[in-house]
Amino acid sequence: MNDKLAQKLKILADAAKYDVSCSSSGSKRKNSGGLGNGVAAGICHSFTEDGRCVSLLKILMTNHCIYDCAYCVNRQSNDRPRAAFTVDELVELTIGFYRRNYIEGLFLSSGVRKNPDFTMEQLMLVAKKLRTEQRYNGYIHLKAIPGASPELIRMAGLYADRLSVNIEIPTNNQLQRLAPEKNHQSVMLPMNQINKGIIQNKEERKKFRRTPLFTPAGQSTQLIVGASPESDQQILHLASGLYQAQHLKRVYYSGYLPVNDYDQRLPALPEPPLVREHRLYQSDWLMRFYGYQAGEIVTQSHPNLDLEIDPKLSYALRNMHIFPIDINKADYEMILRIPGVGVQSAQRIVAARRHRRLNSHHLKKLGVVMKRARYFITCNELPAYLRDISSETLRRHLILESKSKYRKSADTQLSLFSQNFAVSVQH
């Protein structure tokens, strides 16, 4: 019995490990006499040898699948060991691990077994049993299976902290080419429903405090980068739309790892597009925290991100006419656009300049990277470096200047983002 369980755990953890998101943050669920609670910032309980945080029991209900998505290890036509948990096994495992302080909660995904409704129901039942029978208040993240009935998804949202529906392939045409059983509409349907449910739930909870929570930690999705030929422009416009229209908490980008290299529909990549993936995360950051529009980061004439420099610098070089920016006068939004100035230093600049006019000495203390910023600002005594350098010269200069640093940071970022390295199960 135990050996069988151990065997399943091995197969189904291995098949889930490539899924990107592992975050347990965003839940403030209280414990009311039962087991467990949410910690808003999330807690890492262990670290694997690759240096990644282990916060959740990240696992598949089953790796059986009736579909045959080209980019997925669990596709039906692959010959690999298959296994499936029962609802009770998973409940027991989660509670056993949680009580020993191994984990913050459960992240449950699944291949599609029999049909979407059957699969979704299994996932929902695990969450339901945990919440109602075990009185468990720890973190639960469930995958919403496209094609499952709205009622099942609604119920899942009542028990889970977070739901996610993975879009995977950024355009509908490409998705249908690689995963003939899927289309964007089937993904957007549950996403819309969850979004509406969250908004409605917030309203109701304002009026009636006892309204049960619905997906309080929001929803997220994942896009695979490099398995299909979409440009970064297409990807970022899609992401931006998802943040605005669907209020997603996160879009995850996952550099395509050639798991099924025999499939002719997939590109033969020498290595996974990790730098590109990293640039996408940086752009995503600019959209969420720096007030950039997707259309400013990638344009018709520059549809793909510059791999050699970060997207903020790249924007600055394409828009030299808005620089130099006067540190002592410009609005906060403009200060944020200066390469070498982060959110924290921008806030400090705006606060500090109320007391005195700032010079380059102050800026350094406030955390500004002057090596970079100096080409784009004027302050008390600094001349504008910009005027007589062309943006192409400046670009090359900055790349050279930061070469060693870039190398290093690129490496650590690679390890930072190694969790986004590959994709195995997605819906």
Binding site: C44, E49, K58, R100
Partner: protein
């Protein structure tokens, strides 16, 4: 050279602060009796704990600290660093003797030093929340041994109390030989006379551990190994996030 000693408690320490004010003493050092070693040429005086004094100092302090720094003196005390007590004393004097908020004076090297120590204690407490591992006993008590650098037990009680409120648990500090026990209602401080675990690694003796405990530990280890991505091996990063001194308590290692 005046050295003041107190009874190892925070209350005792604050009583020392009170006495220094009341009697205009200028201590060269302040130490708990269990850290204290006789020194030649030093004048040593023991200050008894006086709860009235303690409370007056604490209440006074609370008024003069920023909201986020209110608990800092307590955490500094818990650091148990030998030099922490006299530093904390000097800091408290500055807090009382100046009108401005001292705790946000980042430019001052002494304040910076204390802030650093404060962060260290907080991080050690955080690591307990991360790396504590319970083993279940035959009497349904979840037992976890710890060996923190600083005396952080008081800082983690609330977390474990609200998280594991429907199971009995015992967290035991092997180094300081005391622990906290939750009996489903309240948390109590205890010291065990008859120890049913190995005192180095804190593993429960086989006669008291629950039969299926090893199954869970094996499953967890098994899980831990299967989610590793071998191609991305980065043991340095692993050690950085999860220092080796915690490994002996982790069933997955």
């Amino acid at each position: 050279m005046l050295i003041l000693t107190f009874d190892n408690t925070f209350e005792g320490f604050l009583s020392v602060v009170f006495t220094c004010y009341a009697e205009k003493l200028i201590p060269h050092d302040i130490l708990p009796t269990n850290h204290f070693q006789e020194k030649l040429f030093a004048e040593v005086r023991h200050i008894d704990t006086n709860i009235v004094h303690t409370e007056r100092v604490w209440a006074g302090l609370q008024k003069k600290l920023n909201r986020r720094a209110k608990e800092m003196p307590y955490r500094i005390f818990l650091s148990e660093m030998p030099e922490a007590y006299i530093r904390l004393y000097k800091y408290i004097r500055r807090v009382f003797d100046t009108n401005a908020y001292v705790d946000s004076d980042w430019g001052d090297p002494h304040v910076m030093e204390l802030r650093k120590l404060d962060r260290e204690v907080t991080r050690e407490a955080m690591r307990m929340l991360q790396f504590i591992r319970f083993e279940k006993t035959k009497d349904n008590i979840y037992f976890a041994p710890i060996e923190p650098r600083h005396n952080v037990i008081p800082l983690i009680i609330n977390h474990f109390k609200s998280r594991f409120s429907d199971q009995q648990w015992l967290i035991y500090d092997l180094k300081r030989d005391y622990g906290i026990f939750f009996d489903l209602k309240k948390v109590e401080e205890i010291t065990l006379n008859n120890k049913q675990f190995d005192e180095i690694r804190g593993r429960l003796n086989t006669n008291v551990v629950m039969e299926n405990e090893s199954t869970y530990q094996r499953l967890w280890k098994n899980y831990f190994q299967s989610i590793n991505i071998k191609e991305r091996c980065n043991k340095k990063l692993q050690r950085q996030h999860m220092p080796q001194r915690f490994w002996k308590f982790l069933p997955e290692k």
